[in-house]
């Protein structure tokens, strides 16, 4: 097997000389196309061969065409200034990222396992709280968590599913092994780009995708609608699903449009909904029509001003009453933010073992919990080597990357850590894997992560692949779109 692979690699290495990838240097990192070798991995050989047939002029032309098309289609997020509304696209890199079939089989199982554990954890903390009594996780980390919602205690959700849509951020280290970096169990976004990137790729690079066994992604809307149907209140035979959006000013509005359209359901705002007799209705042209399932892209805080943020104009007063009575299903459930908390993340391997009696299929990145004396001590002693993250933030904000930080930044971080250790976790710096990426007139390595999307109603389904985010700035490890990240089409090969 190994010999055969080597031979295939040697063969495929031939035509790369002089092509698009000829001068590519993965810079010592694990590369999604080359692994840690000099030739493309067997599964990437055909893609590399096809890429090498492109001239720089041609790939740049196609790349520009792709960008134009995203603008025309409005696959954009809107940035509002005082004067105008500016549409931006999430930068799209035209060189796809490949995941092999055996790799994907493991990842798929791994993320499903993780969601199962998170759901079991949520059912427990809003139920008997055995994990606290059994000393698996400190009580205050759960009950004192700002995302813990006491309103959820005792409320039953169908199939015990709290996290219907989960986005799990995976990274691959220098050893080529995938690890979980972060869970997103509230309102993870990005799935629209997975589908739109693929469609764009098929239109602009028919010669690159032709006849390759790429697993399709375009049935996401259907799968999501199926799961949402499953969780409708018992006894409702033809449930009305809606997607609840904060509105056109939200930066993810395109994704809300995309999902509503793919599912064929109304895209509503809080003002389109009303509660009567603890039931939810939407305001149509002929009066009130019942609503049974809400896929909400609104944080807990804003859902219901009667219960949460009183100032919220985006929510629906009385929604929680309807929810508690079981007259409406919410996806995701209220209060899932405890499970994807960065501090709780550190306990996930133990929670998986506790609830499922299995070891984690995908390991965590080794994590120090700074609220624990030992973790804090280790972190402070190794600050220059560690990545320190505040537990409450998202979007890559507030992170200190030790090996890249100035002395001043390290000192600031140390002060913050000492002042409020419970607010931080720390991890060794993961040398994220890279992908060949078109940068100006060259193909250069850029760091990537991977966010698979897991949809769960009665059971779980994983969209093949997921969103590959790429840090377009040279050397940057931050892939978030708010900080110079872009995306790539992600191919799971059969």
């Amino acid at each position: 097997m190994a010999a055969a692979q080597t031979q295939r690699q040697t063969q495929s290495a031939g035509p790369t000389t002089g092509g698009l990838l000829a001068a590519y240097d993965r810079g010592g990192y694990w590369c999604e196309l080359y692994g840690n070798g000099k030739a493309p991995l067997p599964d990437g050989a055909e893609l590399a061969r096809r890429l090498n047939a492109f001239s720089f002029a041609e790939i740049i032309r196609r790349s520009q065409q792709a960008t134009r098309e995203f603008m025309s289609l409005g696959v954009t997020f809107t940035v509002y200034t005082d004067k105008d509304a500016i549409d931006r696209i999430l930068p799209f890199d035209v060189i796809p990222r490949i995941i092999t079939r055996p790799e994907w089989q493991v990842l798929e199982k791994g993320v499903i396992q993780r969601v199962a554990a998170m759901n079991a954890f949520l059912a427990d903390i809003y139920g008997k709280q055995k994990c606290i009594k059994d000393g698996i996780i400190p009580a205050d980390l759960v009950l004192g968590n700002s995302n813990y919602r006491p309103e959820m205690v005792g409320l039953k959700v169908r199939y015990g599913t709290y996290i219907h849509i989960c986005g799990t951020d995976l990274v691959r280290g220098a050893d080529g092994k995938f690890r979980v970096l972060e869970d997103n169990g509230r309102t993870p976004s990005g799935v629209s780009y997975v589908v739109e990137n693929r469609h764009l790729m098929q239109r602009t690079f028919p010669d690159l995708v032709r006849d390759l066994p790429i697993r399709p992604v375009s049935n996401y809307g259907q799968k999501l609608a199926e799961a949402l149907m499953e969780i409708a209140p018992a006894g409702v035979t033809d449930p009305q699903i809606v997607l609840l959006s904060p509105g056109t000013y939200n930066s993810a509005y395109f994704e809300h449009i995309f999902l509503a359209r793919e599912m064929g359901v109304p895209l509503v705002e809080g003002r389109d909904l009303t509660i009567e007799d603890d039931k939810v209705f939407m305001k149509t042209i002929s009066g009130l029509a019942p609503v049974h399932v809400i896929y909400r892209r609104l944080n807990d805080d804003f859902l219901d001003p009667e219960v949460f943020n009183k100032e919220s104009m985006l929510g629906v007063p009385g929604l929680m009453r309807a929810y508690k009575k079981g007259n409406v299903a919410l996806a995701n459930a209220v209060g899932t933010g405890v499970a994807d908390d960065k501090a709780v993340y550190a306990y996930m391997p133990r929670l998986i073992r506790y609830y499922l009696a299995e070891d984690a299929i995908i390991e965590n990145v080794d994590t120090q919990i700074c609220r624990e004396a030992e973790g804090l001590k280790y972190t402070l002693a190794n600050l220059a080597k560690m990545v320190v993250k505040p537990v409450g933030e998202s979007g890559g904000y507030g992170i200190t990357i030790g090996p890249r930080a100035t002395r001043q930044e390290i000192a600031d971080c140390r002060a913050k850590l000492k002042a409020d250790p419970a607010n931080f976790i720390s991890q060794p710096m993961v040398e994220l894997s890279v992908c060949p990426t078109l940068i100006n007139r060259a193909i250069e390595p850029r760091h990537v992560d991977l966010r698979p999307f897991i949809v769960t109603g009665k059971s779980s389904w994983v969209l093949p692949g997921g969103l590959t985010r790429v840090a377009l700035r040279k050397g940057s490890l931050v892939v978030n779109s708010s900080q110079g990240g872009g995306s790539k089409d992600t191919w799971v090969l059969d």
């Binding site: 025309s72 409005g74 359209r261 109304p266 939407m282 042209i285 002929s286």
Partner: protein, 316 residues
Amino acid sequence: MTKLLARFADCVFWLARNVERANSLARVLDVNQTYSYDTKGGRNWEVVLRLYTDEEEFNQHYEQITPENVLAFYITDVRNASSIRSCIRWARENARTIRPLISTEMWTHLNVFYEHLKGIDPADITSQSLSEFCAAVKEGCQTHIGITRETFYRDEAWAFYLMGQQLERADQTTRLLDVKYQQLLPKAAEAGSALDVSQWHALLRAAAGFHAFRREHPSQTTPEAVASFLLFNPRFPRSLLCAVNEASQALSSLRHEFGLRNGTLAQKQLRGFQSRLIDMTIEDVLGQGMHETLDWAQGELIQATTLLRREFCGAE
């Protein structure tokens, strides 16, 4: 049971209205440039301001009625909510809100169309380039209408699209006739002059009705015939009656095809208006005064919009 959100119905309605408005405006500007000369041979731009009762707003932003100023006001000025750029901007904003409802083609076209208009500098629009620009706007609007006809799913939202489009069109035709009639009629006394006839033809062209009118009236052009054609010809798509017929039919479809039970007031009002138009002749109009009749018609159109939005869209 309908699933069309009241808010979305309103958005579809205004999407259609704004495109129609931009379309009419481009036509009026183009025709005014090409065919309307005053007695000194200059183009009269004030008449366009009067057409849309925009004199006051124009004077807030501009000191003089010059061709450049009027064109800037109607084409690129974002302060004017009815400039071509603003109309397409609102059309696009409405389209963005209801994107899950409309076809990808409709959205993409409006998005690109607006991006194009956004890039136009007032200085680019001169007397020389106006006609070309107007042609591009008309083509953009008509492309939108064509795409919509071919791709928009024909559920309740389609009825609201048609109502918006047709009510706006009816309003535009009455305005056009009102102003031009007042402007041209005194000269009708000096009947027969070549200039005079060409101005009535210009009015027909502004409504895209010159050739259709010719087929009905191969030789003679009288003010009465032109007015009658624009008001009552049931086969000319931009006549008042034709537009009202279509709006009324769309409204009826909500009850008959989609089983809606509300909207009775709007329907009663629009049908009443429609049947009065059907019974009316040009002699009746001239008897009670052209301006008075058109004023009444505009009032009815405004009332139709108010009732529709109140009964279906939850507007106050």
